[in-house]
């Protein structure tokens, strides 16, 4: 089934199909044509061939799940098209904006900006590291692809945060919501990355926007879980104290729970970012551009050089983004200063002003 919806279907897939038909003892010449014919012939065979053997019961398909799903998806796609376009629209708009910004900006500006952000968030070491890393990216000829991948990841993580943190808060506040959402998250996390691609392609088609959507679905779970956990782990005596001073729900959330849960939530954002990066790479199979596509092309053409460049680019991006978001989880005092604005470039600027 998947070979049909896979735009990358090439000769290798054909040979796979041929193999499977060859190994099918019931496979007549007609059954190789298409899936409908195959399922038809599968359901038709028992009538013609009466030698059903208990020893080999699975030589025929009992439940034609594939054709059911196909009809189901067809029905969903035709009847809910407005819904899917509505889902795509905000993702599309955000992605286009971020992607064109990253790609249009002069590389030098991007490098400097990244260095400054890294300096502010973490320190001089990471700043130097990320500047060197980004220069390497450009030097090995992966700049354009890196920026595309970065735009995809940033868009996905943005949506993950916007969707995930409120969901996590809802889970923390209501046990019933938690009971409903938790199994959904379990399913989302246990489903292998590859398997997501199938329904997404069916419902949203191929390209960067479906790529971002699949990444959001794949990567949103950690930020939801850790937001929930962070809020639930706020010490009960602090909750009680806030209550005793007359905090309402909103004050409780914004003045007590969220600030105290912030390190945990940031750990969730970090995890989401890492998952997002890995998914953006896998999503190159549904025609998503960027570093992942370099790797995929390299493998497809046995071009080891191209694949390696893509791989190195991904690793460099991953390390930079990971370090940056990890330091978000610490507050300024853990890094030895009172306030975040006392260090980094802003601290320097303020010191100059005085």
């Amino acid at each position: 089934m998947s070979t049909e919806s896979n735009p990358w279907a090439t000769g290798s897939d054909d040979t796979g199909a041929a193999e499977s038909t060859a190994s099918n003892p019931w496979g007549g010449a007609a059954s190789t044509q298409n899936s409908d014919a195959m399922s038809m012939s599968a359901s038709g065979t028992p009538v013609e061939q009466t030698d059903f053997s208990l020893l080999h019961p699975f030589q025929e398909v009992w439940i034609p799940l594939d054709s059911w799903i196909e009809t189901g998806v067809d029905w969903v796609v035709t009847n809910f098209r407005p819904f899917f376009t509505a889902v795509k629209a905000p993702v599309d708009a955000t992605l286009t904006a971020i992607d064109s910004t990253f790609n249009a900006a002069p590389p030098l500006l991007v490098i400097v900006l990244f260095g400054l952000i890294a300096w502010q968030l973490s320190g001089r070491r990471l700043a130097i590291g990320s500047v060197v890393g980004l220069i390497t990216l450009g030097a090995i000829g992966a700049w354009q692809e890196s920026m595309t991948t970065l735009a995809l990841v940033v868009t996905s993580v943005l949506f993950c945060i916007v969707l995930g943190i409120p969901t996590g808060i809802a889970m923390a506040r209501s046990d019933r919501a938690a009971k409903v959402i938790r199994p959904i998250l379990d399913i989302m996390q246990t489903t292998p990355a590859f398997v997501y691609l199938v329904p997404i392609v069916m419902l949203f088609g191929i390209g960067n926007v479906p790529g971002v959507i699949v990444t959001i679905i794949f990567a949103v779970a950690p930020v939801i879980r850790l937001t929930n956990l962070g809020i639930r782990q706020v010490p009960s005596d602090l909750i009680e104290a806030a209550n005793s001073f007359g905090a309402d729900n909103k004050q409780m959330l914004f003045k007590v729970q969220l600030p105290l849960a912030m390190p945990t939530i940031m750990a969730g954002v970090n995890q989401t970012l890492m998952l997002g990066l890995s998914m953006v790479v896998i999503a190159s199979m549904i025609s998503v551009g960027g570093l992942g596509l370099m790797v995929l092309r390299g493998i497809g053409r046995l071009d080891i050089g191209l694949a390696t460049i893509g791989g190195i680019g991904i690793v460099i991006l991953a390390v930079i983004l990971d370090r940056m978001t990890q330091s978000l989880g610490q507050d300024a005092r853990q890094r030895g200063t009172r306030h975040w604005y006392e260090t980094g470039p802003i601290g320097l600027l303020l010191a100059f002003k005085k």
Partner: protein, 398 residues
């Protein structure tokens, strides 16, 4: 005395089916049996208290006696199952959430055993937390918070974070936070129990001092009888969720309601509980009244008759004048001097409300039984070495 806070027939049952447990309680079934049969825990059972305005009211009990539950019922951090909590005659068990928040913001503050300071806020913001919740703007609340910090002597630490302070300082911040709202009622849930004994005493003194500056109604939860005796105007003793006795420290010490209450006093440091006036003896010793006529000879004779070495001189209105000895009287008579010169300067009277711990060395070093006077210099009685020993011995025998 105006009743500030009143608790009427208050019950708290923890569990899914409180009604069932309530019915069983009415039938007189005890709490362990109710737990065995229904799984419901009786937290507080039929508690009734009337707490006066401006007093420090201590609720005492061992752990599990329901005292922490009781104090949380007062500001509804725990919802009562049945009964009334009246603040100024207004039943807060009936108010809606908004009104309850207003009451918590303005009338009633709480200090916690675990301090419960917000780790992400500095001391000043922590202190201003209650006002922040009431929506007071930054400048005003910081100013009030600074005042409160000054009251507890921590204004210099306004920019520190809680984890940079010692336990005692953290609890001062907790106290300042509760005071910033300027509440009528202060609930203190084992507020000083997590502190070491020295700091605890210091904090108790602090509380009493604050109380002398501004009279609030304080409900103080404690498991420490020394603490309760030290700061409490009145004490309620809880056992198994019930209030078994309410009274002044003296009442409870002298007339314990049952063995449970009595058992509290085992190991209590009597020297802090009793005062000089509690152990004076009034009889047995000769008094010489000072008339217009000096009566020196008659005095000496009186001492000799009763075989005493010392006499305690008071005037007609019972004011204490001093101590004379048979020897000093004898000398005065020989030299034809007045009674005033016979008084021995070395022996000074003790104030009636001095605790016994403080008078031990005075009594030990005095040649005679030490006289005790009240705050108007009126003679109350004397404390002899034997009497003091006897009292201290009670500590072991009670």
């Amino acid at each position: 005395m105006v009743t500030k806070l009143e608790v009427k027939n208050l019950y708290k049952i923890f569990g899914e089916h409180p009604k069932k447990a309530l019915k069983m309680l009415d039938k007189g079934i005890n709490k362990d049996e109710i737990f065995k049969k229904t799984g419901q825990t009786v937290g507080v059972k039929n508690a009734s208290l009337a707490i006066n305005e401006g007093e420090i009211f201590v609720v005492m009990g061992l752990s599990g006696s329901g005292k922490s539950t009781l104090v949380r019922l007062l500001n509804r951090l725990i919802e009562p199952t049945q009964g009334q909590v009246l603040i100024d005659g207004h039943d807060i068990t009936k108010v809606d959430d908004k009104e309850l928040r207003d009451i918590r913001r303005s009338k009633i503050s709480m200090v916690f055993q675990s301090f419960a300071l917000m780790p992400h806020m500095n001391v000043l913001d922590n202190t201003a937390f209650g006002l922040e919740l009431s929506g007071i703007d930054v400048q005003e609340r910081h100013e009030k918070a600074r005042n409160a910090l000054a009251q507890v002597g921590l204004e210099s630490h306004a920019n520190s974070y809680p984890d940079e302070l010692s336990g005692g300082m953290q609890q001062r911040v907790g106290l300042a936070r509760a005071l910033t709202n300027n509440p009528d009622i202060l609930l203190m849930d084992e507020a000083f129990s997590a502190l070491d004994p020295l700091i605890r005493t210091e904090m108790q003194d602090e509380l009493v001092r604050l109380q002398s500056e501004h009279q609030r109604t304080v409900v103080f939860i404690s498991h420490d009888l020394d603490e309760a005796m030290r700061i409490g105007d009145r004490i309620a003793i809880m056992q198994g969720g019930e209030v078994v006795q309410v009274g002044t420290p003296d009442d409870i010490l002298h007339n314990p309601a049952n063995d449970y209450v009595r058992s509290f006093f085992k190991g209590v440091d009597v020297s802090n509980v009793f005062h000089a006036k509690d152990i004076v003896s009034k009889s047995r010793l000769t008094l010489i009244k000072k008339d217009s006529s000096e009566g020196l000879r008659s005095g000496l004779q009186l001492l000799n008759e009763h075989d005493r070495d010392y006499g305690y001189v008071i005037d007609k209105s019972n004011r204490f004048l001093g101590v004379v000895s048979a020897n000093s009287l004898h000398d005065v008579i020989k030299n034809k001097q007045t009674l005033a010169e016979a008084i021995i300067d070395d022996i000074q009277p003790i104030a009636a409300d001095t605790s016994i711990g403080e008078i031990i060395s005075i009594v030990a070093h005095s040649p005679c039984a030490v006289p005790v006077v009240d705050d108007q210099q009126k003679y109350v009685g004397v404390i002899s070495k034997a009497r003091l020993l006897e009292t201290l011995d009670k500590e072991a025998s009670v």
